[in-house]
Amino acid sequence: MKKPASAPDRVVLALLPLLLIGILAAPAFAQQPVASQLKLTDRPNDDGSALLLTFDLTGWDETTRVRTEVEVDGEWLPSLMFPQLITPVPTKGGSPEYFGWHAADPEQRVLVVDRYIFIQDPTAEELAENPDAVPQPQPVYLEAANTYHVRLMVLHGGVESYYDAGSMKTDEQWFNVAATNNLVMCVIFAAIIMGFIMAARRNPNLFIRRINGLEAVDEAIGRATEMGKPVLQVNGLDPLSTLSTIAAVNILGRVARRVANYDSELLVPCFDPVVMTVSQEVVKNAYLEAGRPDAYREENIYFVTDQQFSYVASVCGIMMREKPAANFLLGYFYAESLLLAETGFTTGAIQIAGTDALAQLPFFITTCDYTLIGEELYAASAYLSREPMLLGSLKGQDIGKGFVMLMILLGTILATIGVYLTTGNWNWLVEMLTPLM
């Protein structure tokens, strides 16, 4: 017969499962990462839409995950649906945009808190449309001048640990200190350009080198006049906010004046209604300046469509039917560049293209008689008009290019010296030169 357990034995037996659980779980708790030095601050140089949480984390490994949570009406809502691995979380040292190049505690981790996510139940309308509609996560972005209570959640080995980071008010800044270099460069370049504009006003004969394609503009328009055929200009597919479109419209003025002088016909099919309106104004002014306002035909500068390939189909059709003797393809182009230039080539027109769309330049170079490459397009309007404003800008930009070259040279030298100063290792130089000696 089995002897019944005594009272102390029963206590030991009862505690045994708890002891076993404790022993098994102990390593997991012992290896839990620990967050410390939590600091919640307003994100600098922003519109008040985010906070920064910095913290130290010890004892983590590749499986450790973290996320921030924001308290909303007494409930903690996560900033991310799923916590992220700690490895890609940036450090203070790797975030100079927030902490400068020499941050204190550079190894501290940084999390941006700019939203929280709540699960929105489907509305009655959504349920009526789809009875199987499920709740969807909806991000809510932080707003300026609000105070938010934030905590850090660390997930490791299936165990979640929470660390209160306190509360902080989001603040909106009017000046972005991180972009001061941008401001300094703007001011310096603007001063240089304005200086040259004043110089160009005193002396409009500032030297600009010959641009090959532009020499052919008059020749192309003259040929169109002799053949009794129109001149066609396409101002690209971008809106007026693009520099190349502005340059194209500038050149259009010059082309229109020459066309008016020669009593030829100018066609400008437009992709953008605003570009069309400005083109009409520019051409009208050019005809006025040429003393031929009667020859201006507003209906020749028209909107086609703002859908890329239907625009191409239409312009190609115009090229085939009207057979313009000179095509000016100036501005920003996309995949339609080759279609337009190839069709123009088959009609035998003189073609002068100009764009700063790098991917399209090769197509223009292969199919057009002359191509203005990149900045030549901007320079062209100054070259043609001799306007002091444009001439001065061009000269100022040349100074800017010289400055860039100097910066690259100095930067390369200093970066190379910097590698030596930070690593103190010039062995690579010795090793590299050894086979040569």
């Binding site: 972009a179 400005v278 189909a313 290019k401």
Partner: protein, 215 residues
């Protein structure tokens, strides 16, 4: 396959052939395809403008002025937009100049800092790299520096391309042409893949549907 799908396939295939007929020469069928394409795209574009721009940015805020008085600010751009429409009235066409002055001036002002921070400075920092630590890295960096230097010289407009400047500029244009050659090949490959897609549609979807093998 449903009747609707079959009609859609034949329409798409027919229009593809009509547009491709331009390769031979301009013809009435192409003109029909061109005008159809143009009309459909204009109608489609108008719907996109209305539902993506006009309704959410102009009409809806006006409807909600009573809920939020800040919505009244939308009247400013609406009036500026109406000024542009007034171009059709010759005596009031001058009003559109206010809208265009604001539009062009605003964009030009926004473009300058954006180009400096988004294009100029990133390109500058990407070009500046330390030399080393081995010969291939040095050669790569020197090739890059020489290319940048010569290309920038090519785009100097204050100097005539003669003598040393001309020679440096010539090296610059060689660099540019190498880049364009690579870009040309890359883009042609992309265009050929577009053509392959269309031919696959014609052979597989369209002809395949007739022979029972297509999708």
């Amino acid at each position: 396959m449903s009747v609707g799908t079959i009609i859609g396939l034949w329409l798409a295939a027919g229009l593809t052939i009509i547009i491709f007929s331009f390769i031979y020469k301009d013809n009435p069928l192409y003109k029909f395809g061109e005008h159809l394409f143009l009309g459909v795209s204009l109608g489609y574009g108008w719907c996109i403008y209305y539902y993506n721009d006009i309704f959410p940015n102009a009409i809806k805020p006006l409807q909600e002025i009573s809920q939020d008085s800040k919505n009244a600010l939308v009247l400013i751009p609406i009036i500026l937009g109406l000024f542009i429409i007034l171009r059709v009235v010759p005596s009031l066409a001058w009003l559109s100049r206010f809208s265009f002055a604001l539009y062009i001036g605003g964009f030009a002002g926004l473009a300058v800092p954006n180009v400096i921070s988004g294009v100029f400075l990133p390109q500058l920092t990407s070009t500046i790299n330390p030399l080393g630590p081995d010969w291939p890295s040095i050669i790569k960096q020197v090739v890059l520096l020489v290319g940048v230097f010569c290309t920038v010289v090519f785009f100097f407009f204050s100097w005539e391309h003669r003598g040393a400047v001309g020679k440096i500029g010539r090296v610059g244009i060689l660099y540019i042409m190498v880049a364009f050659g690579a870009s040309f090949g890359y883009t042609v490959m992309a265009r050929v893949s577009l053509l392959i897609g269309r031919i696959q549609f014609m052979l597989h979807d369209w002809i395949g549907s007739m022979t029972g093998g297509g999708g």
